[in-house]
């Protein structure tokens, strides 16, 4: 038996499971998206590309795409910047580091629905902690269409920053101290040490964190679903919330699948772009 053949045999179970659990459902969703399927009304007929044509002019869909984009860009950028800053801070700190790490993990370990419920009360206009800290004002965080999305982004940043921090912190720990000592001897300290040593070494892992967080944020659902239900006025309705409402609440299986396919396409494009950047970096490194 050749190695090649053995490799296939060993891979077969994994491929079968992946095929059964990922590829098959994905193709099925693609197939459904080309039909009108509303089981409640026993509607099942061919639609071709009509759902996609409707999506192209569907203002609710484009609003959701915009909300998803803004949410992803802002939350991921903040999470990465804050995560790195926290990791650098942790490295410099020796007393209470374990405590700080445990606290960080707590935020990350909470189920996102619990986080969302917690923020519901933090943001409560009349009795919430956030407004209390803002000097007892009654800022309408979740009920004002201009503030709701930033409020959700803040909640997501609170929840996901620790993930980035941990990844970066782990990388920072592996940078040998003598690199910095040597740099100091050469007269590079402070900012220069950061841009010349820390940043190039942390950057690859930060890219991986960025990839994970972006893919997560593009599929953001729990926080908006619990806190605002996509409101007010649709200001926080992401693509996945729209897909969920269509698929599971109003049972338009065909149309909902079309939204799912488009979300999948968006996520794929972003993922491939990231992987391309990461690969290129590996080659140049």
């Amino acid at each position: 038996m050749t190695d090649r053949r053995l490799a296939w045999i060993l891979l077969a179970p994994a491929l079968a499971v992946l095929g059964g659990l990922t590829v098959y459902p994905a193709l099925w969703v693609l197939w459904l998206s080309l039909q009108y399927r509303v089981p409640v009304f026993s509607i099942s007929r061919w639609a071709g590309l009509e759902h996609y044509a409707f999506l192209a002019v569907d203002t609710r869909f484009w609003n959701a795409a915009w909300v998803t984009g803004v949410f992803t860009a802002c939350s991921v950028a903040l999470e990465c910047a804050l995560g790195l800053a926290l990791a650098l801070g942790l490295r410099g700190q020796h007393r209470g580091r374990r405590m700080a790490l445990a606290l960080l993990l707590l935020a990350w370990a909470l189920p996102s629905v619990v986080t969302a419920k917690m923020f519901e009360w933090l943001y409560h206009p009349a009795g919430g902690l956030v407004n209390f800290l803002a000097g007892g004002r009654t800022i309408n965080w979740l009920g004002d269409p201009d503030l709701a999305l930033p409020a959700l982004i803040a909640a997501d940043v609170w929840r996901a920053t620790p993930f980035v921090t941990l990844l970066c912190f782990a990388r920072l720990l592996t940078i040998p101290a003598d690199l910095y000592e040597a740099a100091q001897v050469d007269g590079a300290a402070g900012l220069q040490a950061f841009t010349r040593i820390t940043w190039p070494l942390v950057r690859p892992i930060l890219l991986v964190a960025l990839l994970f967080r972006t893919l997560d944020a593009l599929r953001a659902f729990d926080i908006m679903f619990v806190l605002t239900g996509g409101g007010p006025a649709g200001a926080t309705e992401t693509l996945t919330v729209y897909a969920y409402r269509t698929l599971f609440q109003t049972l338009q299986i065909g149309f909902g699948s079309a939204i799912g396919v488009v979300v999948f396409a968006f996520v794929m494009v972003v993922a491939v772009a990231y992987l391309w950047v990461i690969n290129r970096q590996d080659q140049t490194a």
Binding site: M1, R5, A16, G127, T228, G231, Q249, T250
Partner: protein
Amino acid sequence: MARRPARAVLLVPLLLLMLIVGGCGERAGSGAPVTLVFKHAKILGPADPLPDLLQRFEARHPGVRVQSEALTWSSDEQHQFYVINLEGGSPPFDVMMLDVIWVPEFARAGWILDLTPFVPAAERDAHFPAAIEPAVQSGRLWALPWIMNVGLLYYRRDLLAKYGFTPPETYEALAAQVRRIRSGEGDPRLDGYLWQGKQYEGGMVNVLEALWANGARLLDDVGRPFPDRERARESLAFLRGLIESGVSPAWVTAADEELTRRPFGDGRAIFLRNWPYALDLFELPDSRVRGKVGVAPLPRLRHGPVGAASTGGAHLAVSARTRHQALAVDLARFLTSEAAQRAMTEGAALRPSRPSLYQDAALVARDPSLPALLGLMEKGHPRPITPYYLMLSTTLQPEFSAVLVGRKSPDGAIRDGAAQVEHLLRAITP
């Protein structure tokens, strides 16, 4: 040797399939005792009466066991659970608890059993009309009412009495009372009228109540949206006006039942629109508003009646695919019977769907609010009874929310909402 990978590819799904099928193999064979599975939301309240009721049912039907399985807490997830299981073939339950707004949808889909042949007319008529109407589609009965709800106006009895007011019959009077009491009290932390304006089903309920309070409907008799546009416009403008004039705080646009119930319970609001469950919480021994809360019918606008509140609640239905039809129907009828509803009212502080129980001396002695609730329940309206209610509601919620936060004019929201609903209807009525 060359064929082995292909065989492995086949084997793995087969093994998975066997695991899945094996898990379903517990179904009772002939002669073995029958197990009925009852799916329901968790019953909250001081003492869950359900285990005892199910035991009574089992005692009456020797050889039958009822397995009671609680659903997840959120209503959206319950709906999703039912849809996946009912659409997917043979559902693993026989009797199910449904939110009243799902009954027409499930009936239309053919997922639930037609109960008409099993339920005598007298048994039907023993429930509130507003509870039975949503369970009837094309003249057939599809579910039995179990728990009843209705929107109420809660008011601070002490504050109204202090200024010589009686509960307002019109929203104009409500606004005037709010202004008078707030200026008299001089407490910036005392809000006026709290209600639910978040973009969700509860927000939809509040908008519907504003429409009805002005004599407007959401759908006409053949299901076209907004038959009385001018009145609907006034209703939406009125809700936005509550916020603009400060009668209601701006944050009601993000508020659900609990977010409004708490400030009122802390004594920080004069009026509140909520369901009957809040009453029990306001009367708890450590409540700050204990003995100070009254309930009244929802006020009216210019063209509508007083007390045009939305009803809600839960029904029991039988799966169309149950293998124990007669027994499952018996269980649903038993649990919705007067005796069972009495036990539910005593133990779980839920409101029954049978008017007779609201004047039952023993029950009234335990819960003096029941007679007052009777009149309010009788005035209540069911939400539009149509299989596409959820579609309608999720489509219109962002439009109504946009009006409440001032993003859209009432006219604009009605126009855009009507256009979207008509688009939806075209798709499902080929």
